[in-house]
């Protein structure tokens, strides 16, 4: 198991390096020179040269990259060009919101979709299956930002049960926090739930035909035990892979959802920094999200190995 984790880490390392290069490149590809932007109308050549030297922007690209990488590795993601705040601090402040949104959506999707997918597979081509398949197709087809907008329309504007946007920290007011988070979580989890549902169904259909399912029945395991013990663990293996991929979707989707519901999360930070041309901030957010994605998938891989003894070697 430890060997396996080490192997996965070894594969992840070049990817992390590549991510860092791409994130570094971003700041040099965006239009406009940061120093010019910083000085604005007070621009003069001497000050510009001075600032370039101060930020190391006059050195060769490779040196700049290595210096930047060393900073990043020590947790220094640079400084916002707009606010008097370090990028790392800004991200950490907003992380809990995005985390709550993403984790909540995945959990909601899993809790709803796995049992529904199993029920659909057990009654293939009958009412529950048709219902689940319809839900699955609609779920992957309805854009999350539209779903969010329509949920707001129904629950906030027409019924008035829930707020249409805003945020309050759970440590301050847990119930209030849940009221603010419910609609965004629903909107974000719709598509994930649909994908997990479709995967659970097809994977379960595949597994249920296996000989070891007959064997389990021949041993006298009850129908419920056959499904939840013998079939489910096998069926979950591909589902887990899909969940890993969906994390990426969630991190991307949260950008839009946070914008609709005015949640102060990382996604909204990204949009704000693009609009404000705060590129160090954008760079930090993108780097952080991509690196998180790699690590989350590393965890998914480890869970995968735990489920599937064959690849634990």
């Amino acid at each position: 198991m430890i060997v396996y984790i080490a192997k996965r880490l070894a594969v992840a390392l070049p990817v992390l390096l590549g991510i860092s290069m791409l994130a570094f490149a971003l700041i040099h590809l965006v239009p406009g020179d940061p120093v010019t932007a910083m000085l604005g109308i007070q621009y003069n050549e001497e000050q510009a040269i001075e600032l370039r030297a101060q930020y190391g922007l006059d050195k060769p690209m490779v040196v700049q990259y290595l210096v930047w990488l060393r900073h990043v590795l020590t947790g220094d993601l640079g400084h916002s060009m707009l606010h008097d705040q370090s990028v790392a601090r800004a991200i950490l402040e907003r992380l809990p919101v995005t985390l709550q949104l993403a984790v909540g959506s995945v959990l909601l999707a899993l809790v709803v979709s796995v049992p529904l997918g199993i029920a659909a597979a057990m009654r293939q081509h009958r009412a529950p299956d048709i219902l689940a398949s319809t839900f699955g197709l609609l779920g992957i087809s309805i854009p999350n930002f539209w779903l969010g907008t329509m949920l707001t329309l129904l629950f906030a504007l027409v019924l008035g049960w829930l707020p249409s946007g805003g945020y309050i920290s759970p440590t301050e007011d847990l119930v209030g926090n849940l009221r603010y988070m419910l609609l965004p979580t629903l909107a974000l989890s719709g598509a994930v739930a649909a994908v997990i549902l479709r995967m659970t169904r097809s994977s379960m259909l595949e597994v249920i035909r296996m000989d070891y399912i007959d064997m389990a029945r021949a041993k006298g395991a009850s129908p419920r035990r056959v499904v939840w013990v013998h079939a489910l663990k096998n069926a979950l293996i591909p589902v887990l892979t899909i969940v890993g991929i969906q994390i990426g979707y969630l991190l991307g989707g949260s950008v839009v959802i946070e914008q609709i519901f005015t949640l102060p999360g990382i996604g909204r930070l990204a949009v704000q920094s693009i609009n404000a041309r705060d590129y160090p901030m954008l760079q930090g957010v993108i780097l952080f999200v991509a690196v998180s994605f790699v690590f989350i998938n590393l965890i998914v891989d480890i869970l995968y190995a735990w489920l599937n003894p064959r690849i634990r070697l």
């Binding site: 907008t149 707001t152 991307g252 839009v256 693009i274 690196v291």
Partner: protein
């Protein structure tokens, strides 16, 4: 091919998807002639009008006809979808084929590049590219095209690897056929099925991505009647006029749903083995 058509005709969901998609494509191409009103014409007397027989989907805050704007939006969505998917399909297939065919260090490096691109969530990567390029219709197509290169590279690489060692490929090798010819004549036709399926599904993703980017104000120019723009404008008037945001969303859902139905059907027919893979 005839056999394939016969099977596709009998696959009801796929046919439904194909028919709806074709109708929408016709609407997109014919939008300038089919629109009952000028999508840009503001009519002060019709501001925020609810759906009527004259204005099927109502009018927006500037009195513009939503139905005409949704029709023109289809133009943009289908254009972005087809061009972005074409970019991704060609670039991704090339990368995947080269990686699979040459193997070794080439494969390792290309695969890691693909992994790196995969690590960025689609919308975020597209946003970053849009930050570099600046908002415009062309740039949206390029950005979405780049974002979906890795998935095509993976599909192409995986399928090419599985046919690489088939006897007909090895036979061609032993006869001294050039690498390019082997790829073109022997490998490409055999990996086209999963690529077609992926292209159909990616078309749906591209439509969604364009709408999302435009919704965030980082896609097409703000005066363009893209479905995403229509939706984001409508969102601000939700309390007064739900139809502004409602109908563009229905249009997106319908287009994406049709692609998914068609894509699922094609996967059933062309590539039964891959059904569980993605």
């Amino acid at each position: 091919m005839r056999e394939f058509w016969y099977q596709l005709r009998r696959h009801k969901p796929a046919m439904l998807g194909l028919v709806v998609l074709s109708l929408m494509a016709v609407a997109a191409i014919g939008a300038p002639w089919l629109s009952p009103h000028d999508p840009y014409a503001m009519q002060v007397e019709h501001v925020l009008g609810s759906p009527t027989p004259q204005y099927l989907m109502g009018t927006d805050q500037k009195g513009r006809d939503i139905f005409s704007r949704v029709l023109h939006g289809a133009r943009i969505s289908f254009k972005v979808g087809s061009i972005a998917v074409t970019i991704a399909l060609f670039a991704g297939t090339a990368i995947g084929l080269i990686a699979a065919y040459y193997g070794g260090i080439v494969d390792f490096l290309l695969s890691r590049v693909v992994d790196v691109l995969f690590a960025f969530p689609d919308i975020l990567l597209a946003l970053a590219i849009m930050a570099i390029l600046g908002p415009s219709l062309t740039n949206v197509m390029i950005a979405i095209g780049i974002v979906y290169i890795p998935i095509f590279a993976r599909v192409a690489r995986g399928s090419a690897l599985s046919v690489k060692h088939e006897s007909f490929v090895e036979a061609a090798h032993s006869m001294g056929v050039s690498n390019f010819t082997i790829i073109r004549r022997h490998i490409l036709p055999n990996i086209s099925a999963p690529l077609i399926v992926q292209a159909t599904l990616s078309f749906a993703f591209a439509i969604l991505a364009e709408a999302a980017l435009s919704f965030l104000g980082l896609g097409v120019e703000p005066d363009t009647p893209s479905w995403g723009i229509l939706l984001s404008r409508g969102k601000d008037w939700m309390g007064e006029a739900w139809w502004i945001a409602f109908f563009p969303g229905i249009a997106i859902t319908l287009a994406v749903l049709s692609c998914n139905l068609l894509g699922d059907g094609l996967r059933d027919l062309l590539d039964p083995k891959a059904r569980k893979a993605s």
